[in-house]
Symmetry: C2
Subunit: 478 residues, 2 copies
Amino acid sequence: MPYFDAASAAPLHPVGRQALLAALDEGWADPARLHREGRRARLLLDAAREAAAEAVGCRPDELVFTPSGTHAVHSGVSGALAGRRRVGGRLVVSAVEHSSVLHAGQAHAAAGGTVTEVPVGRTGAVDPEAFAAELRGPDGGAGSGAGSGAGSGAAGSDVALACLQSANHEVGTEQPVAEVAEACRAAGVPLLVDAAQSLGWGPVPEGWSLLAASAHKWGGPAGVGLLAVRKGVRFAPQGPSDERESGRAPGFENLPAIVAAAASLRAVRAEAVAEGARLRALVDRIRARVPELVPDVEVVGDPVRRLPHLVTFSCLYVDGETLLSELDREGFSVSSGSSCTSSTLTPSHVLRAMGVLSEGNVRVSLPAGTTEADVDRFLAVLPGVVTGVRDRLGAGAPAPGGGEDLVVDALGKRCPLPVIELAKVIGTVRVGGTVTVLADDEAARLDIPAWCEMRAQEYVGATPSPRGGHAYVVRRLS
Amino acid sequence: MPYFDAASAAPLHPVGRQALLAALDEGWADPARLHREGRRARLLLDAAREAAAEAVGCRPDELVFTPSGTHAVHSGVSGALAGRRRVGGRLVVSAVEHSSVLHAGQAHAAAGGTVTEVPVGRTGAVDPEAFAAELRGPDGGAGSGAGSGAGSGAAGSDVALACLQSANHEVGTEQPVAEVAEACRAAGVPLLVDAAQSLGWGPVPEGWSLLAASAHKWGGPAGVGLLAVRKGVRFAPQGPSDERESGRAPGFENLPAIVAAAASLRAVRAEAVAEGARLRALVDRIRARVPELVPDVEVVGDPVRRLPHLVTFSCLYVDGETLLSELDREGFSVSSGSSCTSSTLTPSHVLRAMGVLSEGNVRVSLPAGTTEADVDRFLAVLPGVVTGVRDRLGAGAPAPGGGEDLVVDALGKRCPLPVIELAKVIGTVRVGGTVTVLADDEAARLDIPAWCEMRAQEYVGATPSPRGGHAYVVRRLS
C-alpha cells in the first residue's frame, strides 16, 4: 500500500530503529549524572551531537537537540529576536514558511513586535531582491554590514531576524537561501533557515545564522528536533530554562530518540544522492503525466529547483477531502492543502501566497524506496478517481448558449462548488459577456482567478457583496 | 550492578518497550492526517490518552501529552498564571519544589510577577496551615471560595496559582496534598500538583486543578510528560501554539513514546502495591542500618509519609562527589544533593530549605526489582567507603585539649573541609569556649549549624566576615 506522504512523516529508517533499540538499553539514564549509567548516556549524547553537527555543517557546541522541529523553530525565533531586541522589533519571513514560523511570528506580533511577510512568485520562491529590500531600515538604507556578520547590529535596519525555509513543505520549491543569506549578511541581519524538509537530502547552503530541523521528516523518530545557532549570533533563550542543552532546550533529554535521529540522518545522507536522483525522475514523471491524464489540472511549484521527492497539483471541480478519501480507498496516502480538508475552511497559506488553484489539491511526497510500479499505479488510478468525484459534483457539463450576462448565487456553498457553478454557465453567455459569482467561501478568492487563468477567461475583479462574501466578475473570452 | 538512581530515570519497563516497538510500526504517521496511516496513529493516540487519563483520574479531554515533565510544568504554570492574570500576579510554591517549578517561578518573577515560597519543616513537608496562610489576600482575608472551585477568582486573594509536589524528589517526603488542596479550594486558588515522583505509585489525592508528570520517572520512555488541566480551570497557553494537543503542547506528537508511556504507566500501576511494599521494607532497612553502620550520619526526610523507594542521608566530613565516585567504583549508582557535585557549588535547595546537613549527601532510589541482596551489599560496602573518604580528608582525629577560644580560617576551602576543620579543633577548646570558623563556601551556612545539632554543640550564629564569606561561631557544650 503506497504511502505518499513522506513530507508529513516517514517511518523510522532501519538504521535509526537499530540505534533506538541499542540506546534504549544503553542510554536511558540521566546524562547529567556522574554514575556509570549517566556517563554512558553522556557519551551517547555527545556522539549524537557530533554526528548531527557534521551533517548540519556546524560545531557540536553550536547545536542543541529540541523535542521537535516546531520547538526548534519557536526557540530559535524567540531567542534570536530577544537577543537583538535593542536593534529592533521587526521579523522578516517569507509568506510560505511553515506554520511553526508563522505562529512564532504571531506570538512576536502579539507581544508588540512587527512581522513582515515577503511575497512569493507563482512557483512559491521568494525573490532575493524583494527579500533584501525588506531588510533595509525604515530610512531605506542598508545596514553597514561590512564584514560584521550577523552578530552585529548594523545601523539603519530595524530587522532583528529574517526567516527563510530551505524548501517549501507543500510544493517542494527550493528557496534562494544562498542569495538571501548574502543579503542578510550585507544588512547585518541574522538568518534562521528552517531546513525541516531538506536536511535529509543535503546540507543547507552557507550563510545561515540559525538552522532548525525535525528528525521525523528525515526518517528519524518523532520527538527530536535540532537547533543550531552560530557562535557570535546574539541569542537569549526565552521562557524558563535549565542546565540541559546549553540552556536552550529545557527538560530531560530524549536520548534514545536523539541517538536514533543522528544515526538516521547519517544513513539517509549516505543514500541521498542516489535515492534523490531516482525519486526526482519519478516526480518528473508525475509532473509530466498528470496534466496529460487528467483535464483541468494545475501542477504547481518550481519544476527544477525543487525537493526531489515532492510534487503538488490541483484539480478543478474537485474537493480535496473527497479526493483524498477516494485515493485512500484505492490505497494511496496523500496530503492536501485544500480548504475542504481543513477545519478552518481556509485554503493553504502557501497556495494562497502563490496565487494558484487550491481546490482539489493533492500533495504527493514519495518516501525513500518508492518504486516505479507504485507511481505507475497511482497514475493509472488518478484519472478515474478525479472523474468520479467530478461526476458526483455535476461538474463538466456546461450548458450551451450565447445569452445575457448572468449572476450565479453560490453563497453558502463550499469549495469546489462555486467554481463548478461558474464553469457550468460560462458557455451560456455570449463571448464578451460576464458571469458574476456570489460566494462567501474563502477558497473562491483564490480559485476563481486561478480558474480564469487556467481556462483563458478574464478575471475582472471582486467587490464585497451586500449579502456577505464577494461578487466575483468573470468575462467570457472564448 | 545495582542502579540506585530510579528517581533520576529508570530503564524502560518491558511492557513499555514492547508497546514502543509496536508503535514504531503502527504509529509513526501524523495523527492529524486523514489517510489510513494517519487514522491509525490517531487511534493509538486516543487510546494512550484514555489510559493515561484513567491512571491520572481525569477525563481524556483534560489531559495532553508534552515533550517532558519539565515542559508540562512550564506550560502548566505559565498557562494557569496567564489565565488568572486579572486575579493577581502571585505564585505560591513550596520551597522544595522541583527545579522546573522554581524556574517557571523565576520566569514569572522576571516578567513582573511575585513568587512566594512556603517554607518546610525538618522532614521536608510543608505545613498546610502555613500554606493556607499564604493563599490569603494582602488584606489577610480568605477568598469567598464557597463552592466556587478553582476556576473562579475568589475575592480577597491575589494568588493566581499554587504549586505543590506530591512527594519530594530528593528526600521522598510526601506532601499534604489533600489538605493543601482543600485550603486552595477554600481560597479559590487553583493548585498545580507536580506528581513526577509519585504517579507511578498511585493517583494523586483529589482536589488538584492541574497535574504534571514525567514518563521516564515511572519507567516510561524519555520524551513524554503529561499535563492535566481540570475543566473549568482558567487556562491560557503561552507562547506560539498549533492545533496539536488542544493547543497546549505544540509540535508533532511523539507517538511511539506516548504509547509506550501509557502502557508503562498501566503496567507499573498494576505492580505498584506489591512492589511498593517490598521496596518500602528495603528502604526501612537502609534507614535503620545506615546510622548504626556509619558514625556521624543524618538520615533525612519523613520516615513514614514518604515514597516507597527513596531515602536520603548525609555523612559528616565527606564530600558528596568523592563519595559518589567511590560508590560508583564499588558498582552502586546513586545521586547526591551535595554542593560539591554541582557546578554552582550551592547545596541542594531542598536540603537547605529543610535545614539539614548537605555534606556527604547520598540519595538512594531503588528501581522496581531491586533485591534484598543488592541492598545488603550496599550496606556492607558503605561504611568502608565513608571511612576511606574521611581518612583521606584527615577527618575524625580531634586534637585533645581544653584551651582558649579559637579562630579557624577555612576561607577558600570547599565543603566538607570547613566542617572537618571545626570538628578537629572543637575538642581543644574548654567547654563553654567558642570556635569561630571563617568560611566562604556556600554549604557552610547549612552544614555548620547542622553539624552543631548532630554533635550537640551550640550554634551561636554567623556574621559577615571582613575578608569575604562569614564567621560562624560555635560554642562547645560537651
